[in-house]
């Protein structure tokens, strides 16, 4: 928004963003298109798009000489490709939920516009046409940091519906909480018989260098022709546009704020790699598709939102647990240090978590212990510290990622009794825990 003064001036002259105007500033006359005011900067500076395409900001007073010029108002329209169908190609559903992958600048409002229309998508990524025929569902348009369990449930429902008629499903989301979404879908979608591929982009698709194009094409390739029946994330494997990795939904984490290859498989190899040209190489065993299967597909409907993810750190106040007990939380996952250690005998006994964890467990809360090292397995038996924590009834979660443990606990408590949920927390269900820590894993 422009400053009140400018908004009034524009209103008086009947001028709105998109109009062609002529303005005299400091004795020099400029012509151009009035642009919407960017979020930041000086709201008293009018942003003008000059005929050479450049925008400049000019401070003008309430009595500035501004006139509206004739000519058509500039509107933005994204080109679309025709949505043709090709005989013999498999059916793939694309479920759009928002995020950078669907974002482009809206020059009318200055905000972000979602690339939702199937035609727009095919225009931007023409190679999709040779991979599959598509049904595109615009489920929602929100950033992933704004998503909660209700959105996960909605996505799970839509994915199950699409899976019943498609070979595979591609879900586009924001990347920030993509690994929570993938974990949620992994647990919620029971007995799936095809790939559910979650993808997104780290660079918006309004730039020629966006990772969205290859991510989408590789995801469509996995959905259309990979012989897997799992939920996973398909994103750039390296900084190069050469291949993507399809990583198990419970074994993947965003490990970098901005890089294309931010999503890394943790404690497990990716399920498959897929090249830009569409060649798929399987790198891990997993559930495969059963022809004519899929009838047992169901969605776990419940979710317990009163589960917390806490981080232990030096000088952290264990009373935080008492807060959650008082708020009637049903579960908590604690990110300990190293193999799952938490202070039990500090010099200042106020910083010992032991009693607080015991109180939590005794109050009926399911407490799971994971590690903030992200990589590796927790183990309570090596040091006294761990043995004492385990003695409270807190559950050590093997090599499960903290975020995955959180989501799993929410799903378990939403669909099972407490005892059963506690029993299942550290048992492998969909590949989130493995018995062996393989040698070949890199950090």
């Amino acid at each position: 928004m422009y400053s009140e003064e400018l908004e009034k001036l524009f209103a008086r002259r009947g001028i709105a963003p998109g109009d062609r105007i002529r303005v005299t500033v400091k004795g020099r006359t400029l012509e151009g298109i009035l642009m919407p005011r960017p979020e930041f900067g000086d709201s008293g500076a009018m942003v003008l798009k000059l005929p050479n395409g450049y925008n400049i900001g000019m401070r003008i007073g309430s009595r500035a000489k501004v006139e509206k010029q004739g000519g058509k108002k500039t509107t933005f329209e994204f080109p679309k490709a025709k949505l043709g169908r090709k005989e013999g190609l498999p059916e793939v559903s694309i479920i759009a939920t928002g995020g950078t992958i669907g974002a482009k600048v809206d020059y009318e409002t200055g905000g972000v516009h979602w690339l939702l229309e199937p035609g727009e998508l095919l225009y931007a990524v023409p190679e999709l046409k040779d991979i599959a025929n598509y049904g595109v569902i615009n489920l929602m348009s929100i950033g992933s940091e704004d998503m909660g369990y209700k959105d996960w449930q909605e996505i799970a429902k839509a994915a199950a519906k699409e899976l019943s008629r498609s070979r595979g499903v591609v879900i586009t989301t924001g990347t920030d909480t993509m690994h929570y979404i993938s974990a949620a879908l992994s647990f919620m979608l029971q007995g799936i018989n095809g790939p559910v591929v979650i993808t997104g982009s780290q660079r918006s698709s309004d730039r020629g260098s966006s990772d969205a194009f290859m991510n989408l094409a590789c995801s469509a390739r996995i959905a259309a022709s990979a012989n897997v029946a799992e939920v996973g994330v398909c994103m750039h494997a390296t900084s190069s546009d050469t291949y993507c990795s399809f990583m198990r939904g419970t074994r993947v984490r965003k490990m970098h704020t901005t890089r294309r290859d931010a999503f890394r498989p943790i404690n497990s190899p990716p399920i498959a790699n897929v090249t830009r040209e569409g060649e798929i190489t399987y790198t891990d065993e997993g559930r495969v598709r059963i022809e004519d299967g899929g009838r047992e597909l169901r969605v776990l409907k419940g979710y317990e939102p009163k589960v917390a993810l806490l981080k232990f750190y030096p000088n952290s106040d264990p009373e935080i647990l008492d807060y959650y007990i008082s708020k009637k939380y049903k579960g908590a996952i604690i990110e300990g240090t190293g193999m799952g250690h938490i202070a039990v005998s500090p010099h200042d006994s106020r910083y010992s978590w032991l009693g607080h964890i015991k109180r939590a467990v005794d109050s009926g809360m399911v407490v799971g212990i994971t590690s903030q090292t992200i990589n590796g397995r927790v183990n309570p038996n090596v040091y006294t510290n761990g043995r004492l924590i385990a003695g409270t009834g807190a559950i050590y979660c093997e090599d499960m990622l903290p975020e995955v443990a959180l989501v799993k606990l929410g799903v378990l408590l939403g669909n099972h009794r407490r005892r059963e949920a506690a029993h299942l927390l550290a048992k492998n269900m969909v590949g989130e825990i493995s018995e062996r820590s393989e040698v070949g894993q890199q950090l």
Binding site: R28, G53, I56, D241
Partner: protein
């Protein structure tokens, strides 16, 4: 040679875009080193880019053209000069304040206005020279001017932008770029398109170059300044010429481009008169050449290749018509086919038997394509897909011959100084806001304080003329890194500009060559030497004697003058020296005798006068 009046009559339009790298410590949008040392390559990434819809929705023509080439880009990343920002793996940081300051100095020097708020834009580039697919750029000044040979040339726009990546290797499938250069602050200064002659264009480029150098804040050396020239004539079209290696030949290249446009207009007029037409239909003529002796075709079809041809109705003789010395319309068409990935085309105005084609083959081809006496044909050979692309591109270019001059970006052939096709001219629709960088709100004082640092190239030229009095030295000083030092010395010491210039430009080089560490000579020492000379305390010859001894400061200079007895002999001392030398021999002989003894202490002219 055309004169000013001829250019006016032809509707000659010419404007410059001068690009200059700034000498800042870091790059424009990140903390990487901007001074391009010989950095170590640490990583290599491979990327693809595609044309995306711009702000107004449509895909830019030149962007689509690059995408259609389906190329792979490889980027070399370096230890100190690249980070994740250059790799397009991290958003840009805040714009570099040092660069903004220099930009304002340049804006002030060109007497231009600055916006109150700078809006960073993305200018789409899909040739791969930018990892992001766009160049970040902002308009920092408008409505300025510069004096060129006594006339004010308008500077409508001044930009501060990111330098592109330097190309290392390029073929039809892959382009390799080095990222060390990407993101170095770069100024672009545009002139109005009203330069009246090629010579004036050259003078304007020189004036802008001088102004930039005088700021003392710009990079020097090969590639640090580049001039693009936009040229057209009334019946022609705008052509952007890139890649001038030196200013000396700029006027010749422009004149040759005017010649090319004139010939293309003549060719168009003739084609229109003949009602010429391009048949875009491709005909597969491989069967004609089953047993051909023409090696160029035989080689192509020996594998899995094809030969394809198209008819150009009414084009007979025109393909062979020259547009520049040694360049014909056929060469222009061939350039387009080459860009599509083939070696070029063969056409009917060429010496076909000379290629090894038999009369029978030529006859069969003419039959197959229905070529009459007034028609021409073009032929391509190679892989089927490449043939289709190349022939389509060639036909598209042939069609443009009916309109005259195509709008293009062209390079310079350094040998022949004619322009050569690079790509179609980019359209205007490839600009959109850089949403990752906040607008830069200019505080009121920024441009005002820059005005105090404004440089005026024209007044400096005049100053050199009045103080040096030797055209060659003036010219040399104008382009020299010692210019700032020279002006300071002349100003502060009152020493003769000619002597100062000759010392800085010639003597210092000689001394360095002879092993003197001239870098050790302090600024203060230099000022003192010329101050002593200006006061008449030492002779011109003594200057070198002092500098040889690498004085660090003024005190050093004083000490050297004393210990080496370099004081100038004058008045009674001079008379004494003349007496001592005796009266034997003629005047010349006496002069030589005195000089051989007192070379460093006696001014030759003064002695000459005293001996009269």
């Amino acid at each position: 040679m055309l004169g000013a009046e001829d250019y006016r009559r032809l509707g000659f339009k010419c404007g410059l875009e001068v690009h200059q790298r700034l000498a800042t410590r870091t790059k424009l949008f990140c903390g990487c080193d901007a001074q391009l040392p010989n950095d170590i390559s640490v990583a290599e990434v491979e990327r693809r880019q595609r044309a995306v819809a711009g702000e107004l929705g449509s895909i830019d023509q030149s962007a689509a053209f690059e995408t259609s080439k389906g190329r792979k880009f490889v980027y070399n990343a370096f230890a100190k000069t690249t980070c994740l920002v250059e790799l397009d793996e991290e958003p840009p940081h805040e714009p570099n304040r040092e660069a903004l300051d220099i930009a304002m100095q340049i804006v002030a020097s060109l007497r231009a206005s600055a916006p109150d708020e700078l809006e960073v834009m993305r200018k789409e580039v899909v040739d791969g020279s930018d990892t992001s697919g766009f160049q970040r750029t902002m308009l920092v000044g408008y409505d300025g001017s510069i004096e060129v040979a006594g006339r004010q040339v308008g500077i409508p726009t001044i930009f501060l932008e990111e330098e592109s990546a330097g190309i290392e290797y390029n073929d039809s499938g892959v382009a390799v770029y080095n990222l060390d250069r990407l993101g170095v602050p770069l100024m672009e200064i545009d002139t109005n398109p009203d330069l009246r002659t090629p010579e004036e264009a050259k003078a304007a480029a020189a004036a802008l170059g001088l102004m930039l150098r005088l700021t003392g804040k710009v990079q020097r050396g090969i590639g640090s300044i580049r001039q693009d020239v936009n040229v057209s004539i009334r019946e022609g079209a705008r052509v952007e010429i890139k890649g001038f290696q030196d200013l000396d030949t700029m006027d010749t290249v422009i004149a040759n481009e005017v010649e090319r446009q004139l010939h293309l207009v003549e060719i168009r007029n003739e084609l229109l008169k003949r009602k010429a037409k391009v048949h875009a239909a491709r005909t597969d003529v491989t069967s004609v050449f089953g047993e051909t002796k023409a090696r160029i075709v035989a080689k192509s079809i020996s594998g899995d290749g094809t030969v394809m041809a198209a008819k150009l109705e009414g084009f007979a003789g025109m393909l062979g018509t020259e547009v520049n010395t040694g360049r014909r319309l056929g060469s222009e068409i061939s350039d387009y086919a080459k860009l599509a990935g083939l070696g070029g085309i063969i056409h009917s105005d060429e010496d076909l038997p000379g290629y090894g084609f038999s009369e029978k083959e030529i006859g069969a081809l003419r039959n197959l394509l229905d070529i009459g006496a007034r028609d021409a044909f073009i032929l391509v050979a190679g892989g089927r897909d490449a043939c289709i692309r190349a022939l389509d591109a060639a036909c598209a270019r042939a069609m443009l011959a009916l309109e005259g001059v195509p709008k293009e970006t062209r390079g310079v052939d350094q040998k022949t100084l004619v322009t050569t096709f690079l790509r179609p001219l980019p359209g205007g629709e490839r600009m959109y806001p850089e949403t990752d960088v906040r607008p830069v709100v200019m505080d009121a004082g920024m441009l005002e304080s820059a005005k105090g640092r404004a440089v005026d190239a024209e007044s400096v030229s005049r100053r050199l003329k009045s103080t040096i009095g030797n055209r060659q030295l003036e010219e040399q000083m104008l382009w020299s890194q010692h210019l700032g030092r020279f002006l300071e010395i002349v100003e502060k010491t009152g020493a003769d500009g000619g002597v100062v210039a000759a010392t800085l430009l010639e003597k210092m080089t000689q001394l360095r060559r002879s092993g003197v560490n001239v870098g050790a000579i302090g600024d203060d020492a230099m000022l003192r030497v010329f101050s002593e000379y200006g006061k008449g305390n030492i002779t011109k010859a003594a200057i070198e004697e002092i500098l040889k001894r690498e004085p660090k400061d003024g005190a050093d200079v004083e000490r050297i003058i004393k210990s080496e007895k370099l004081e100038r002999l004058r008045g009674r001392e001079l008379e004494l020296a003349i007496k001592e030398a005796g009266a034997e021999g003629g005047r010349e002989e006496r002069l030589r005798r005195i000089m051989s003894k007192h070379r460093l202490n006696v001014d030759g002219d003064e002695l000459g006068a005293a001996l009269k």
